[in-house]
Point group: C2
Chain length 311, copies 2
């Protein structure tokens, strides 16, 4: 459901709030704040207000909650704390070139139980981003947002493998999908990112954003195809790639929210905002990179990158 | 030696003129016209006059010579035909995804003998593109162009391996270098394309163009860094990738020639012209794709791609 108003649109994100332990070849971060919804909200809130829906256990460290509460523009009205529950935790290790990683552990905790509920006060949200989880859960969350005008879902290889039919059903109900090039190939059997994207549109969405990591992203839309290169980050600029994809999505969706537009041209511009948010994220552990960049730094990098493709 | 006039600059290319036999998963082209200088000239001549320097044997089929002679704007005054010599021939086979290829045979023929000579009438050429060959030969050719204002060299992994010192010497004498990301990594020991490019500037050039194939290219320049995505070609658009790199270089250099400018901003725009030329090249066997595109098609694709990053 594409709209073309110029009134800002309200934005809601569902996803994980987690505790990450990350090792890189040169550094380590122990039990820092992470999770798809946390990263998304930290980035999105730099451009537009965002409503967060997710669950944590009552073990969430107080300083992590303080960080979330300190994110200006993030409405935590949908953050549920489950007594006796354990917060989602993830541990990962990046290999030498920082483009490959291995997962050391995943403790689902409360995420394995009932999904979060969208509070009634959030049901009028116009833009919805469904962070990566089981597609049947995503479909259930979507139904709770009666005011939705445009819904975009993230997914991953696991669901393509074990919940293919649920994913195809979800695709018939969303307006956009965000996935990696390898996932697009897996879903369609087509390696070419654009051709794969077009096949995905056959399942129902208006557009697919196919992410190519350090090689940028492609927007395959019913109205056209657009490409964006990755931000050309030098080696010493990359501290921790965790959250790059989630903050890319956050910047992308928030640009739609603040402009109140969801047409092809706006989506294309939104790709660059996503890229800029991701470029700050990878410069520090946890949410620090994107949360601490000044407004001037964001605007300056956007201008150099999106308008001139320069750094 | 950067200049900033607005008078067009003369352009010279040295490289191979060859006979290619190409197999793709779905088609085959037998003994068609190819070679780095032929591809370069076919692309460059779409934007600016170009002088070609190279050698062939007297076995070059008459219809190949007719094709070369038919390229409007290509001055063949530096095309030497050696009696009794054999024209360079190459055979290659592309694997299923068209991004990998294997060389089936390489018959150097006259290319293994003495290098071509730059005719006296070409010695005043201002822009020089040294197609890929032994760096000592490239250095010798460069010296023959006394009027040179900006020299760009192509190279390949073979010379990094077996002629490293000659290549480093060449780098101290050129203004720009064009190479693949894997070659940049091999030369510098650094995988990151931008960091590798900066290291290469340490050898002397003002700029390095690091090509990433289907992922675009990066321009690392003393005055800044610029990125260009690849043209987002769908599967059915790619017939034969042969010559994509050479026509990229041809479009790139010809844009400098016709604008008479070699500053960073112009080089950045030139990247997009290179990308557009390569996108036509891969759509057909031999020079056909880039030679047969209409002027309107070139302009239209440039506008969509470079101005809007759309297809």
């Amino acid at each position: 459901m594409s709209t073309a108003t110029t009134k800002p649109l309200s934005l809601l994100v569902t996803g994980t709030i987690g505790i990450d332990t990350v090792e890189t070849p040169t550094a380590r971060a122990e039990r820092v704040l992470g999770g798809s919804a946390a990263y998304f909200a930290a980035a999105a809130s730099r451009l537009a207000p965002v409503r967060l829906v997710g669950v944590v256990g009552d073990d969430l460290p107080a300083h992590h909650r303080t960080i979330l509460e300190g994110l200006k523009g993030v409405d935590l009205g949908g953050l549920e704390t489950r007594n006796g529950g354990k917060t989602f935790a993830w541990g990962g290790k990046y290999l030498l070139n920082l483009n490959e990683r291995e997962t050391l552990f995943t403790e689902l905790g409360v995420v394995a139980d009932a999904p979060p509920q969208v509070p009634a006060s959030f049901a009028d949200s116009e833009l919805v981003f469904l962070g990566n989880t089981h597609p049947a859960v995503q479909a259930g969350l979507l139904e709770q947002v009666s005011g939705r005008k445009l819904v975009v879902a993230d997914t991953m290889d696991l669901w393509i493998n074990i919940a293919h039919d649920d994913l195809v059903h979800l695709l018939s109900k969303v307006d956009g999908i965000v996935l990696n090039d390898s996932e697009a190939a897996q879903l369609t059997g087509v390696r070419n990112a654009i051709t794969a994207g077009r096949r995905i549109l056959g399942y129902g969405p208006q557009f697919a954003v196919v992410k190519k990591g350090e090689h940028g992203a492609v927007l395959v839309h019913r109205d056209g195809v657009a490409v964006v290169p990755a931000f050309p980050a030098e080696e010493d600029m990359v501290v921790d790639p965790t959250g790059a994809g989630d903050t890319f999505a956050g910047g992308f969706m928030a640009h739609l929210a603040r402009t109140g537009r969801t047409d092809f041209e706006t989506l294309q511009t939104a790709l660059s905002w996503g890229t800029v948010m991701a470029s700050f994220t990878i410069g520090a552990f946890s949410l620090d990179g994107v949360a601490r960049a000044s407004a001037d730094q964001l605007a300056e990098r956007y201008s150099r990158f999106a308008r001139h493709a320069r750094v």
